[in-house]
């Protein structure tokens, strides 16, 4: 896979090295700026709020009659 990619890069060796670095930087930028921020909500590392989760998984300790509901609706856990 990587060998085929190396063969597909045009130009002399120094140019191939340069092209490979540019490709790598592109992949890292894509991950940092687009992919990872979209994966993060599915991971446990950054969840800091309390909420009722999905409506089916409410904590049993919760009173059903809270007048001013403290649940921050719409927040991702």
């Amino acid at each position: 896979m990587y060998a085929a990619l190396w063969r597909a890069l045009p130009g002399p060796r120094w140019l191939k090295v340069l092209e490979a670095l540019v490709l790598l930087a592109g992949v890292v930028a894509f991950c940092f700026l687009w992919l990872f921020p979209r994966i993060e909500p599915l991971m446990p590392f950054s969840q800091t709020t309390v909420d009722t989760g999905t409506s089916t998984s409410q904590s049993p300790s919760q009173s059903p009659s809270q007048s001013p509901s403290p649940s921050p609706s719409g927040s991702p856990s």
Binding site: C31, F36, P44, S46, V50, S63, S65, S69, P70, S75
Partner: protein, 248 residues
């Protein structure tokens, strides 16, 4: 060797080569997956701090300027705040003499990536009820990384356009992520009518986990207007902090 034997040998060689190249591709895919996971860890633990640091610095500067010119949003305004709007600064001397973070309206992940978030349905700062604020512990600038060092009596100061609200820590608890009663108007007593002005901080616990939440409750000590000002001693780190770091 006969020609037929040579052809058979060539076919066998090609099969073996194909088999090895499949193994090679699978191996390279596994290596790639491993590298991507390491990259994700680097992003989560390092890059999010870089991004959050920039945003927080900018938000704090901008809001201080709004305070100076008297154009900061009023969290007690009856029509409320816009989601994502920065309206106050939080000071926790125990976490550092210059520990200051912007508080924004709302607790979406996108809001918490640049400061602290106010649970929209809880009370505004300084008012009777529970002013509840969420913040990250290990990522995105990790404002609440050392929250477990806070003890009863520690000051928590909310700075708004009009006032300084000085709270003192009353208790902490570790609860399930679904324990919304901790941000009820009377903490842990949902449905009760509030008589005190409380403040509640929520963050994740243990570090790097979504298993539980670390909660700190505080009660309002006093409200000072901007004209009255705030004694510098209130924002000085508590002396116990010096004792633990051995600076005194």
């Amino acid at each position: 060797m006969t020609r037929r034997a040579l052809r058979a040998q060539a076919r066998a060689d090609a099969r073996v080569a194909r088999g090895w190249s499949v193994v090679g591709i699978v191996g390279e895919l596994l290596v790639t997956a491993g590298l991507l996971l390491m990259l994700f860890v680097a992003w989560q633990l390092w890059w999010t701090d870089v991004e959050a640091g920039r945003t927080v610095d900018h938000e704090v500067t901008t809001l201080r300027h709004s305070f100076d010119v008297g154009q900061a949003p009023d969290p007690k305004a009856p029509d409320g705040l816009i989601e994502g709007e920065t309206f106050a600064l939080l000071h926790i001397p125990r976490l550092g003499a210059d520990w200051v973070y912007p508080i924004k309206q709302g607790t979406d992940l996108s809001i918490l990536s640049g400061g602290l978030g106010h649970y929209v349905e809880t009370a505004p700062p300084g008012e009777v009820g529970n002013f509840a604020v969420a913040g990250h512990r290990t990522t995105w600038g990790r404002p609440f990384h050392d929250i477990e060092t806070m003890v009863e009596g520690d000051r928590i100061v909310v700075e708004t356009g009009a006032t300084w609200e000085v709270y003192a820590v009353t208790s902490h608890e570790i609860v399930s992520p679904y324990a919304v009663e901790v941000i009820a108007p009377v903490p842990d007593q949902p449905g009760e009518a509030p008589t005190k002005a409380m403040l509640t901080l929520t963050t994740c616990h243990p570090k790097f986990s979504a298993e539980q939440r670390y909660i700190v409750h505080a009660e309002l000590l006093e409200t000072r207007t901007r004209e009255e000002g705030l004694p510098a001693s209130v924002l000085a780190p508590p002396s116990a902090a010096f004792a633990t770091t051995g600076a005194l």
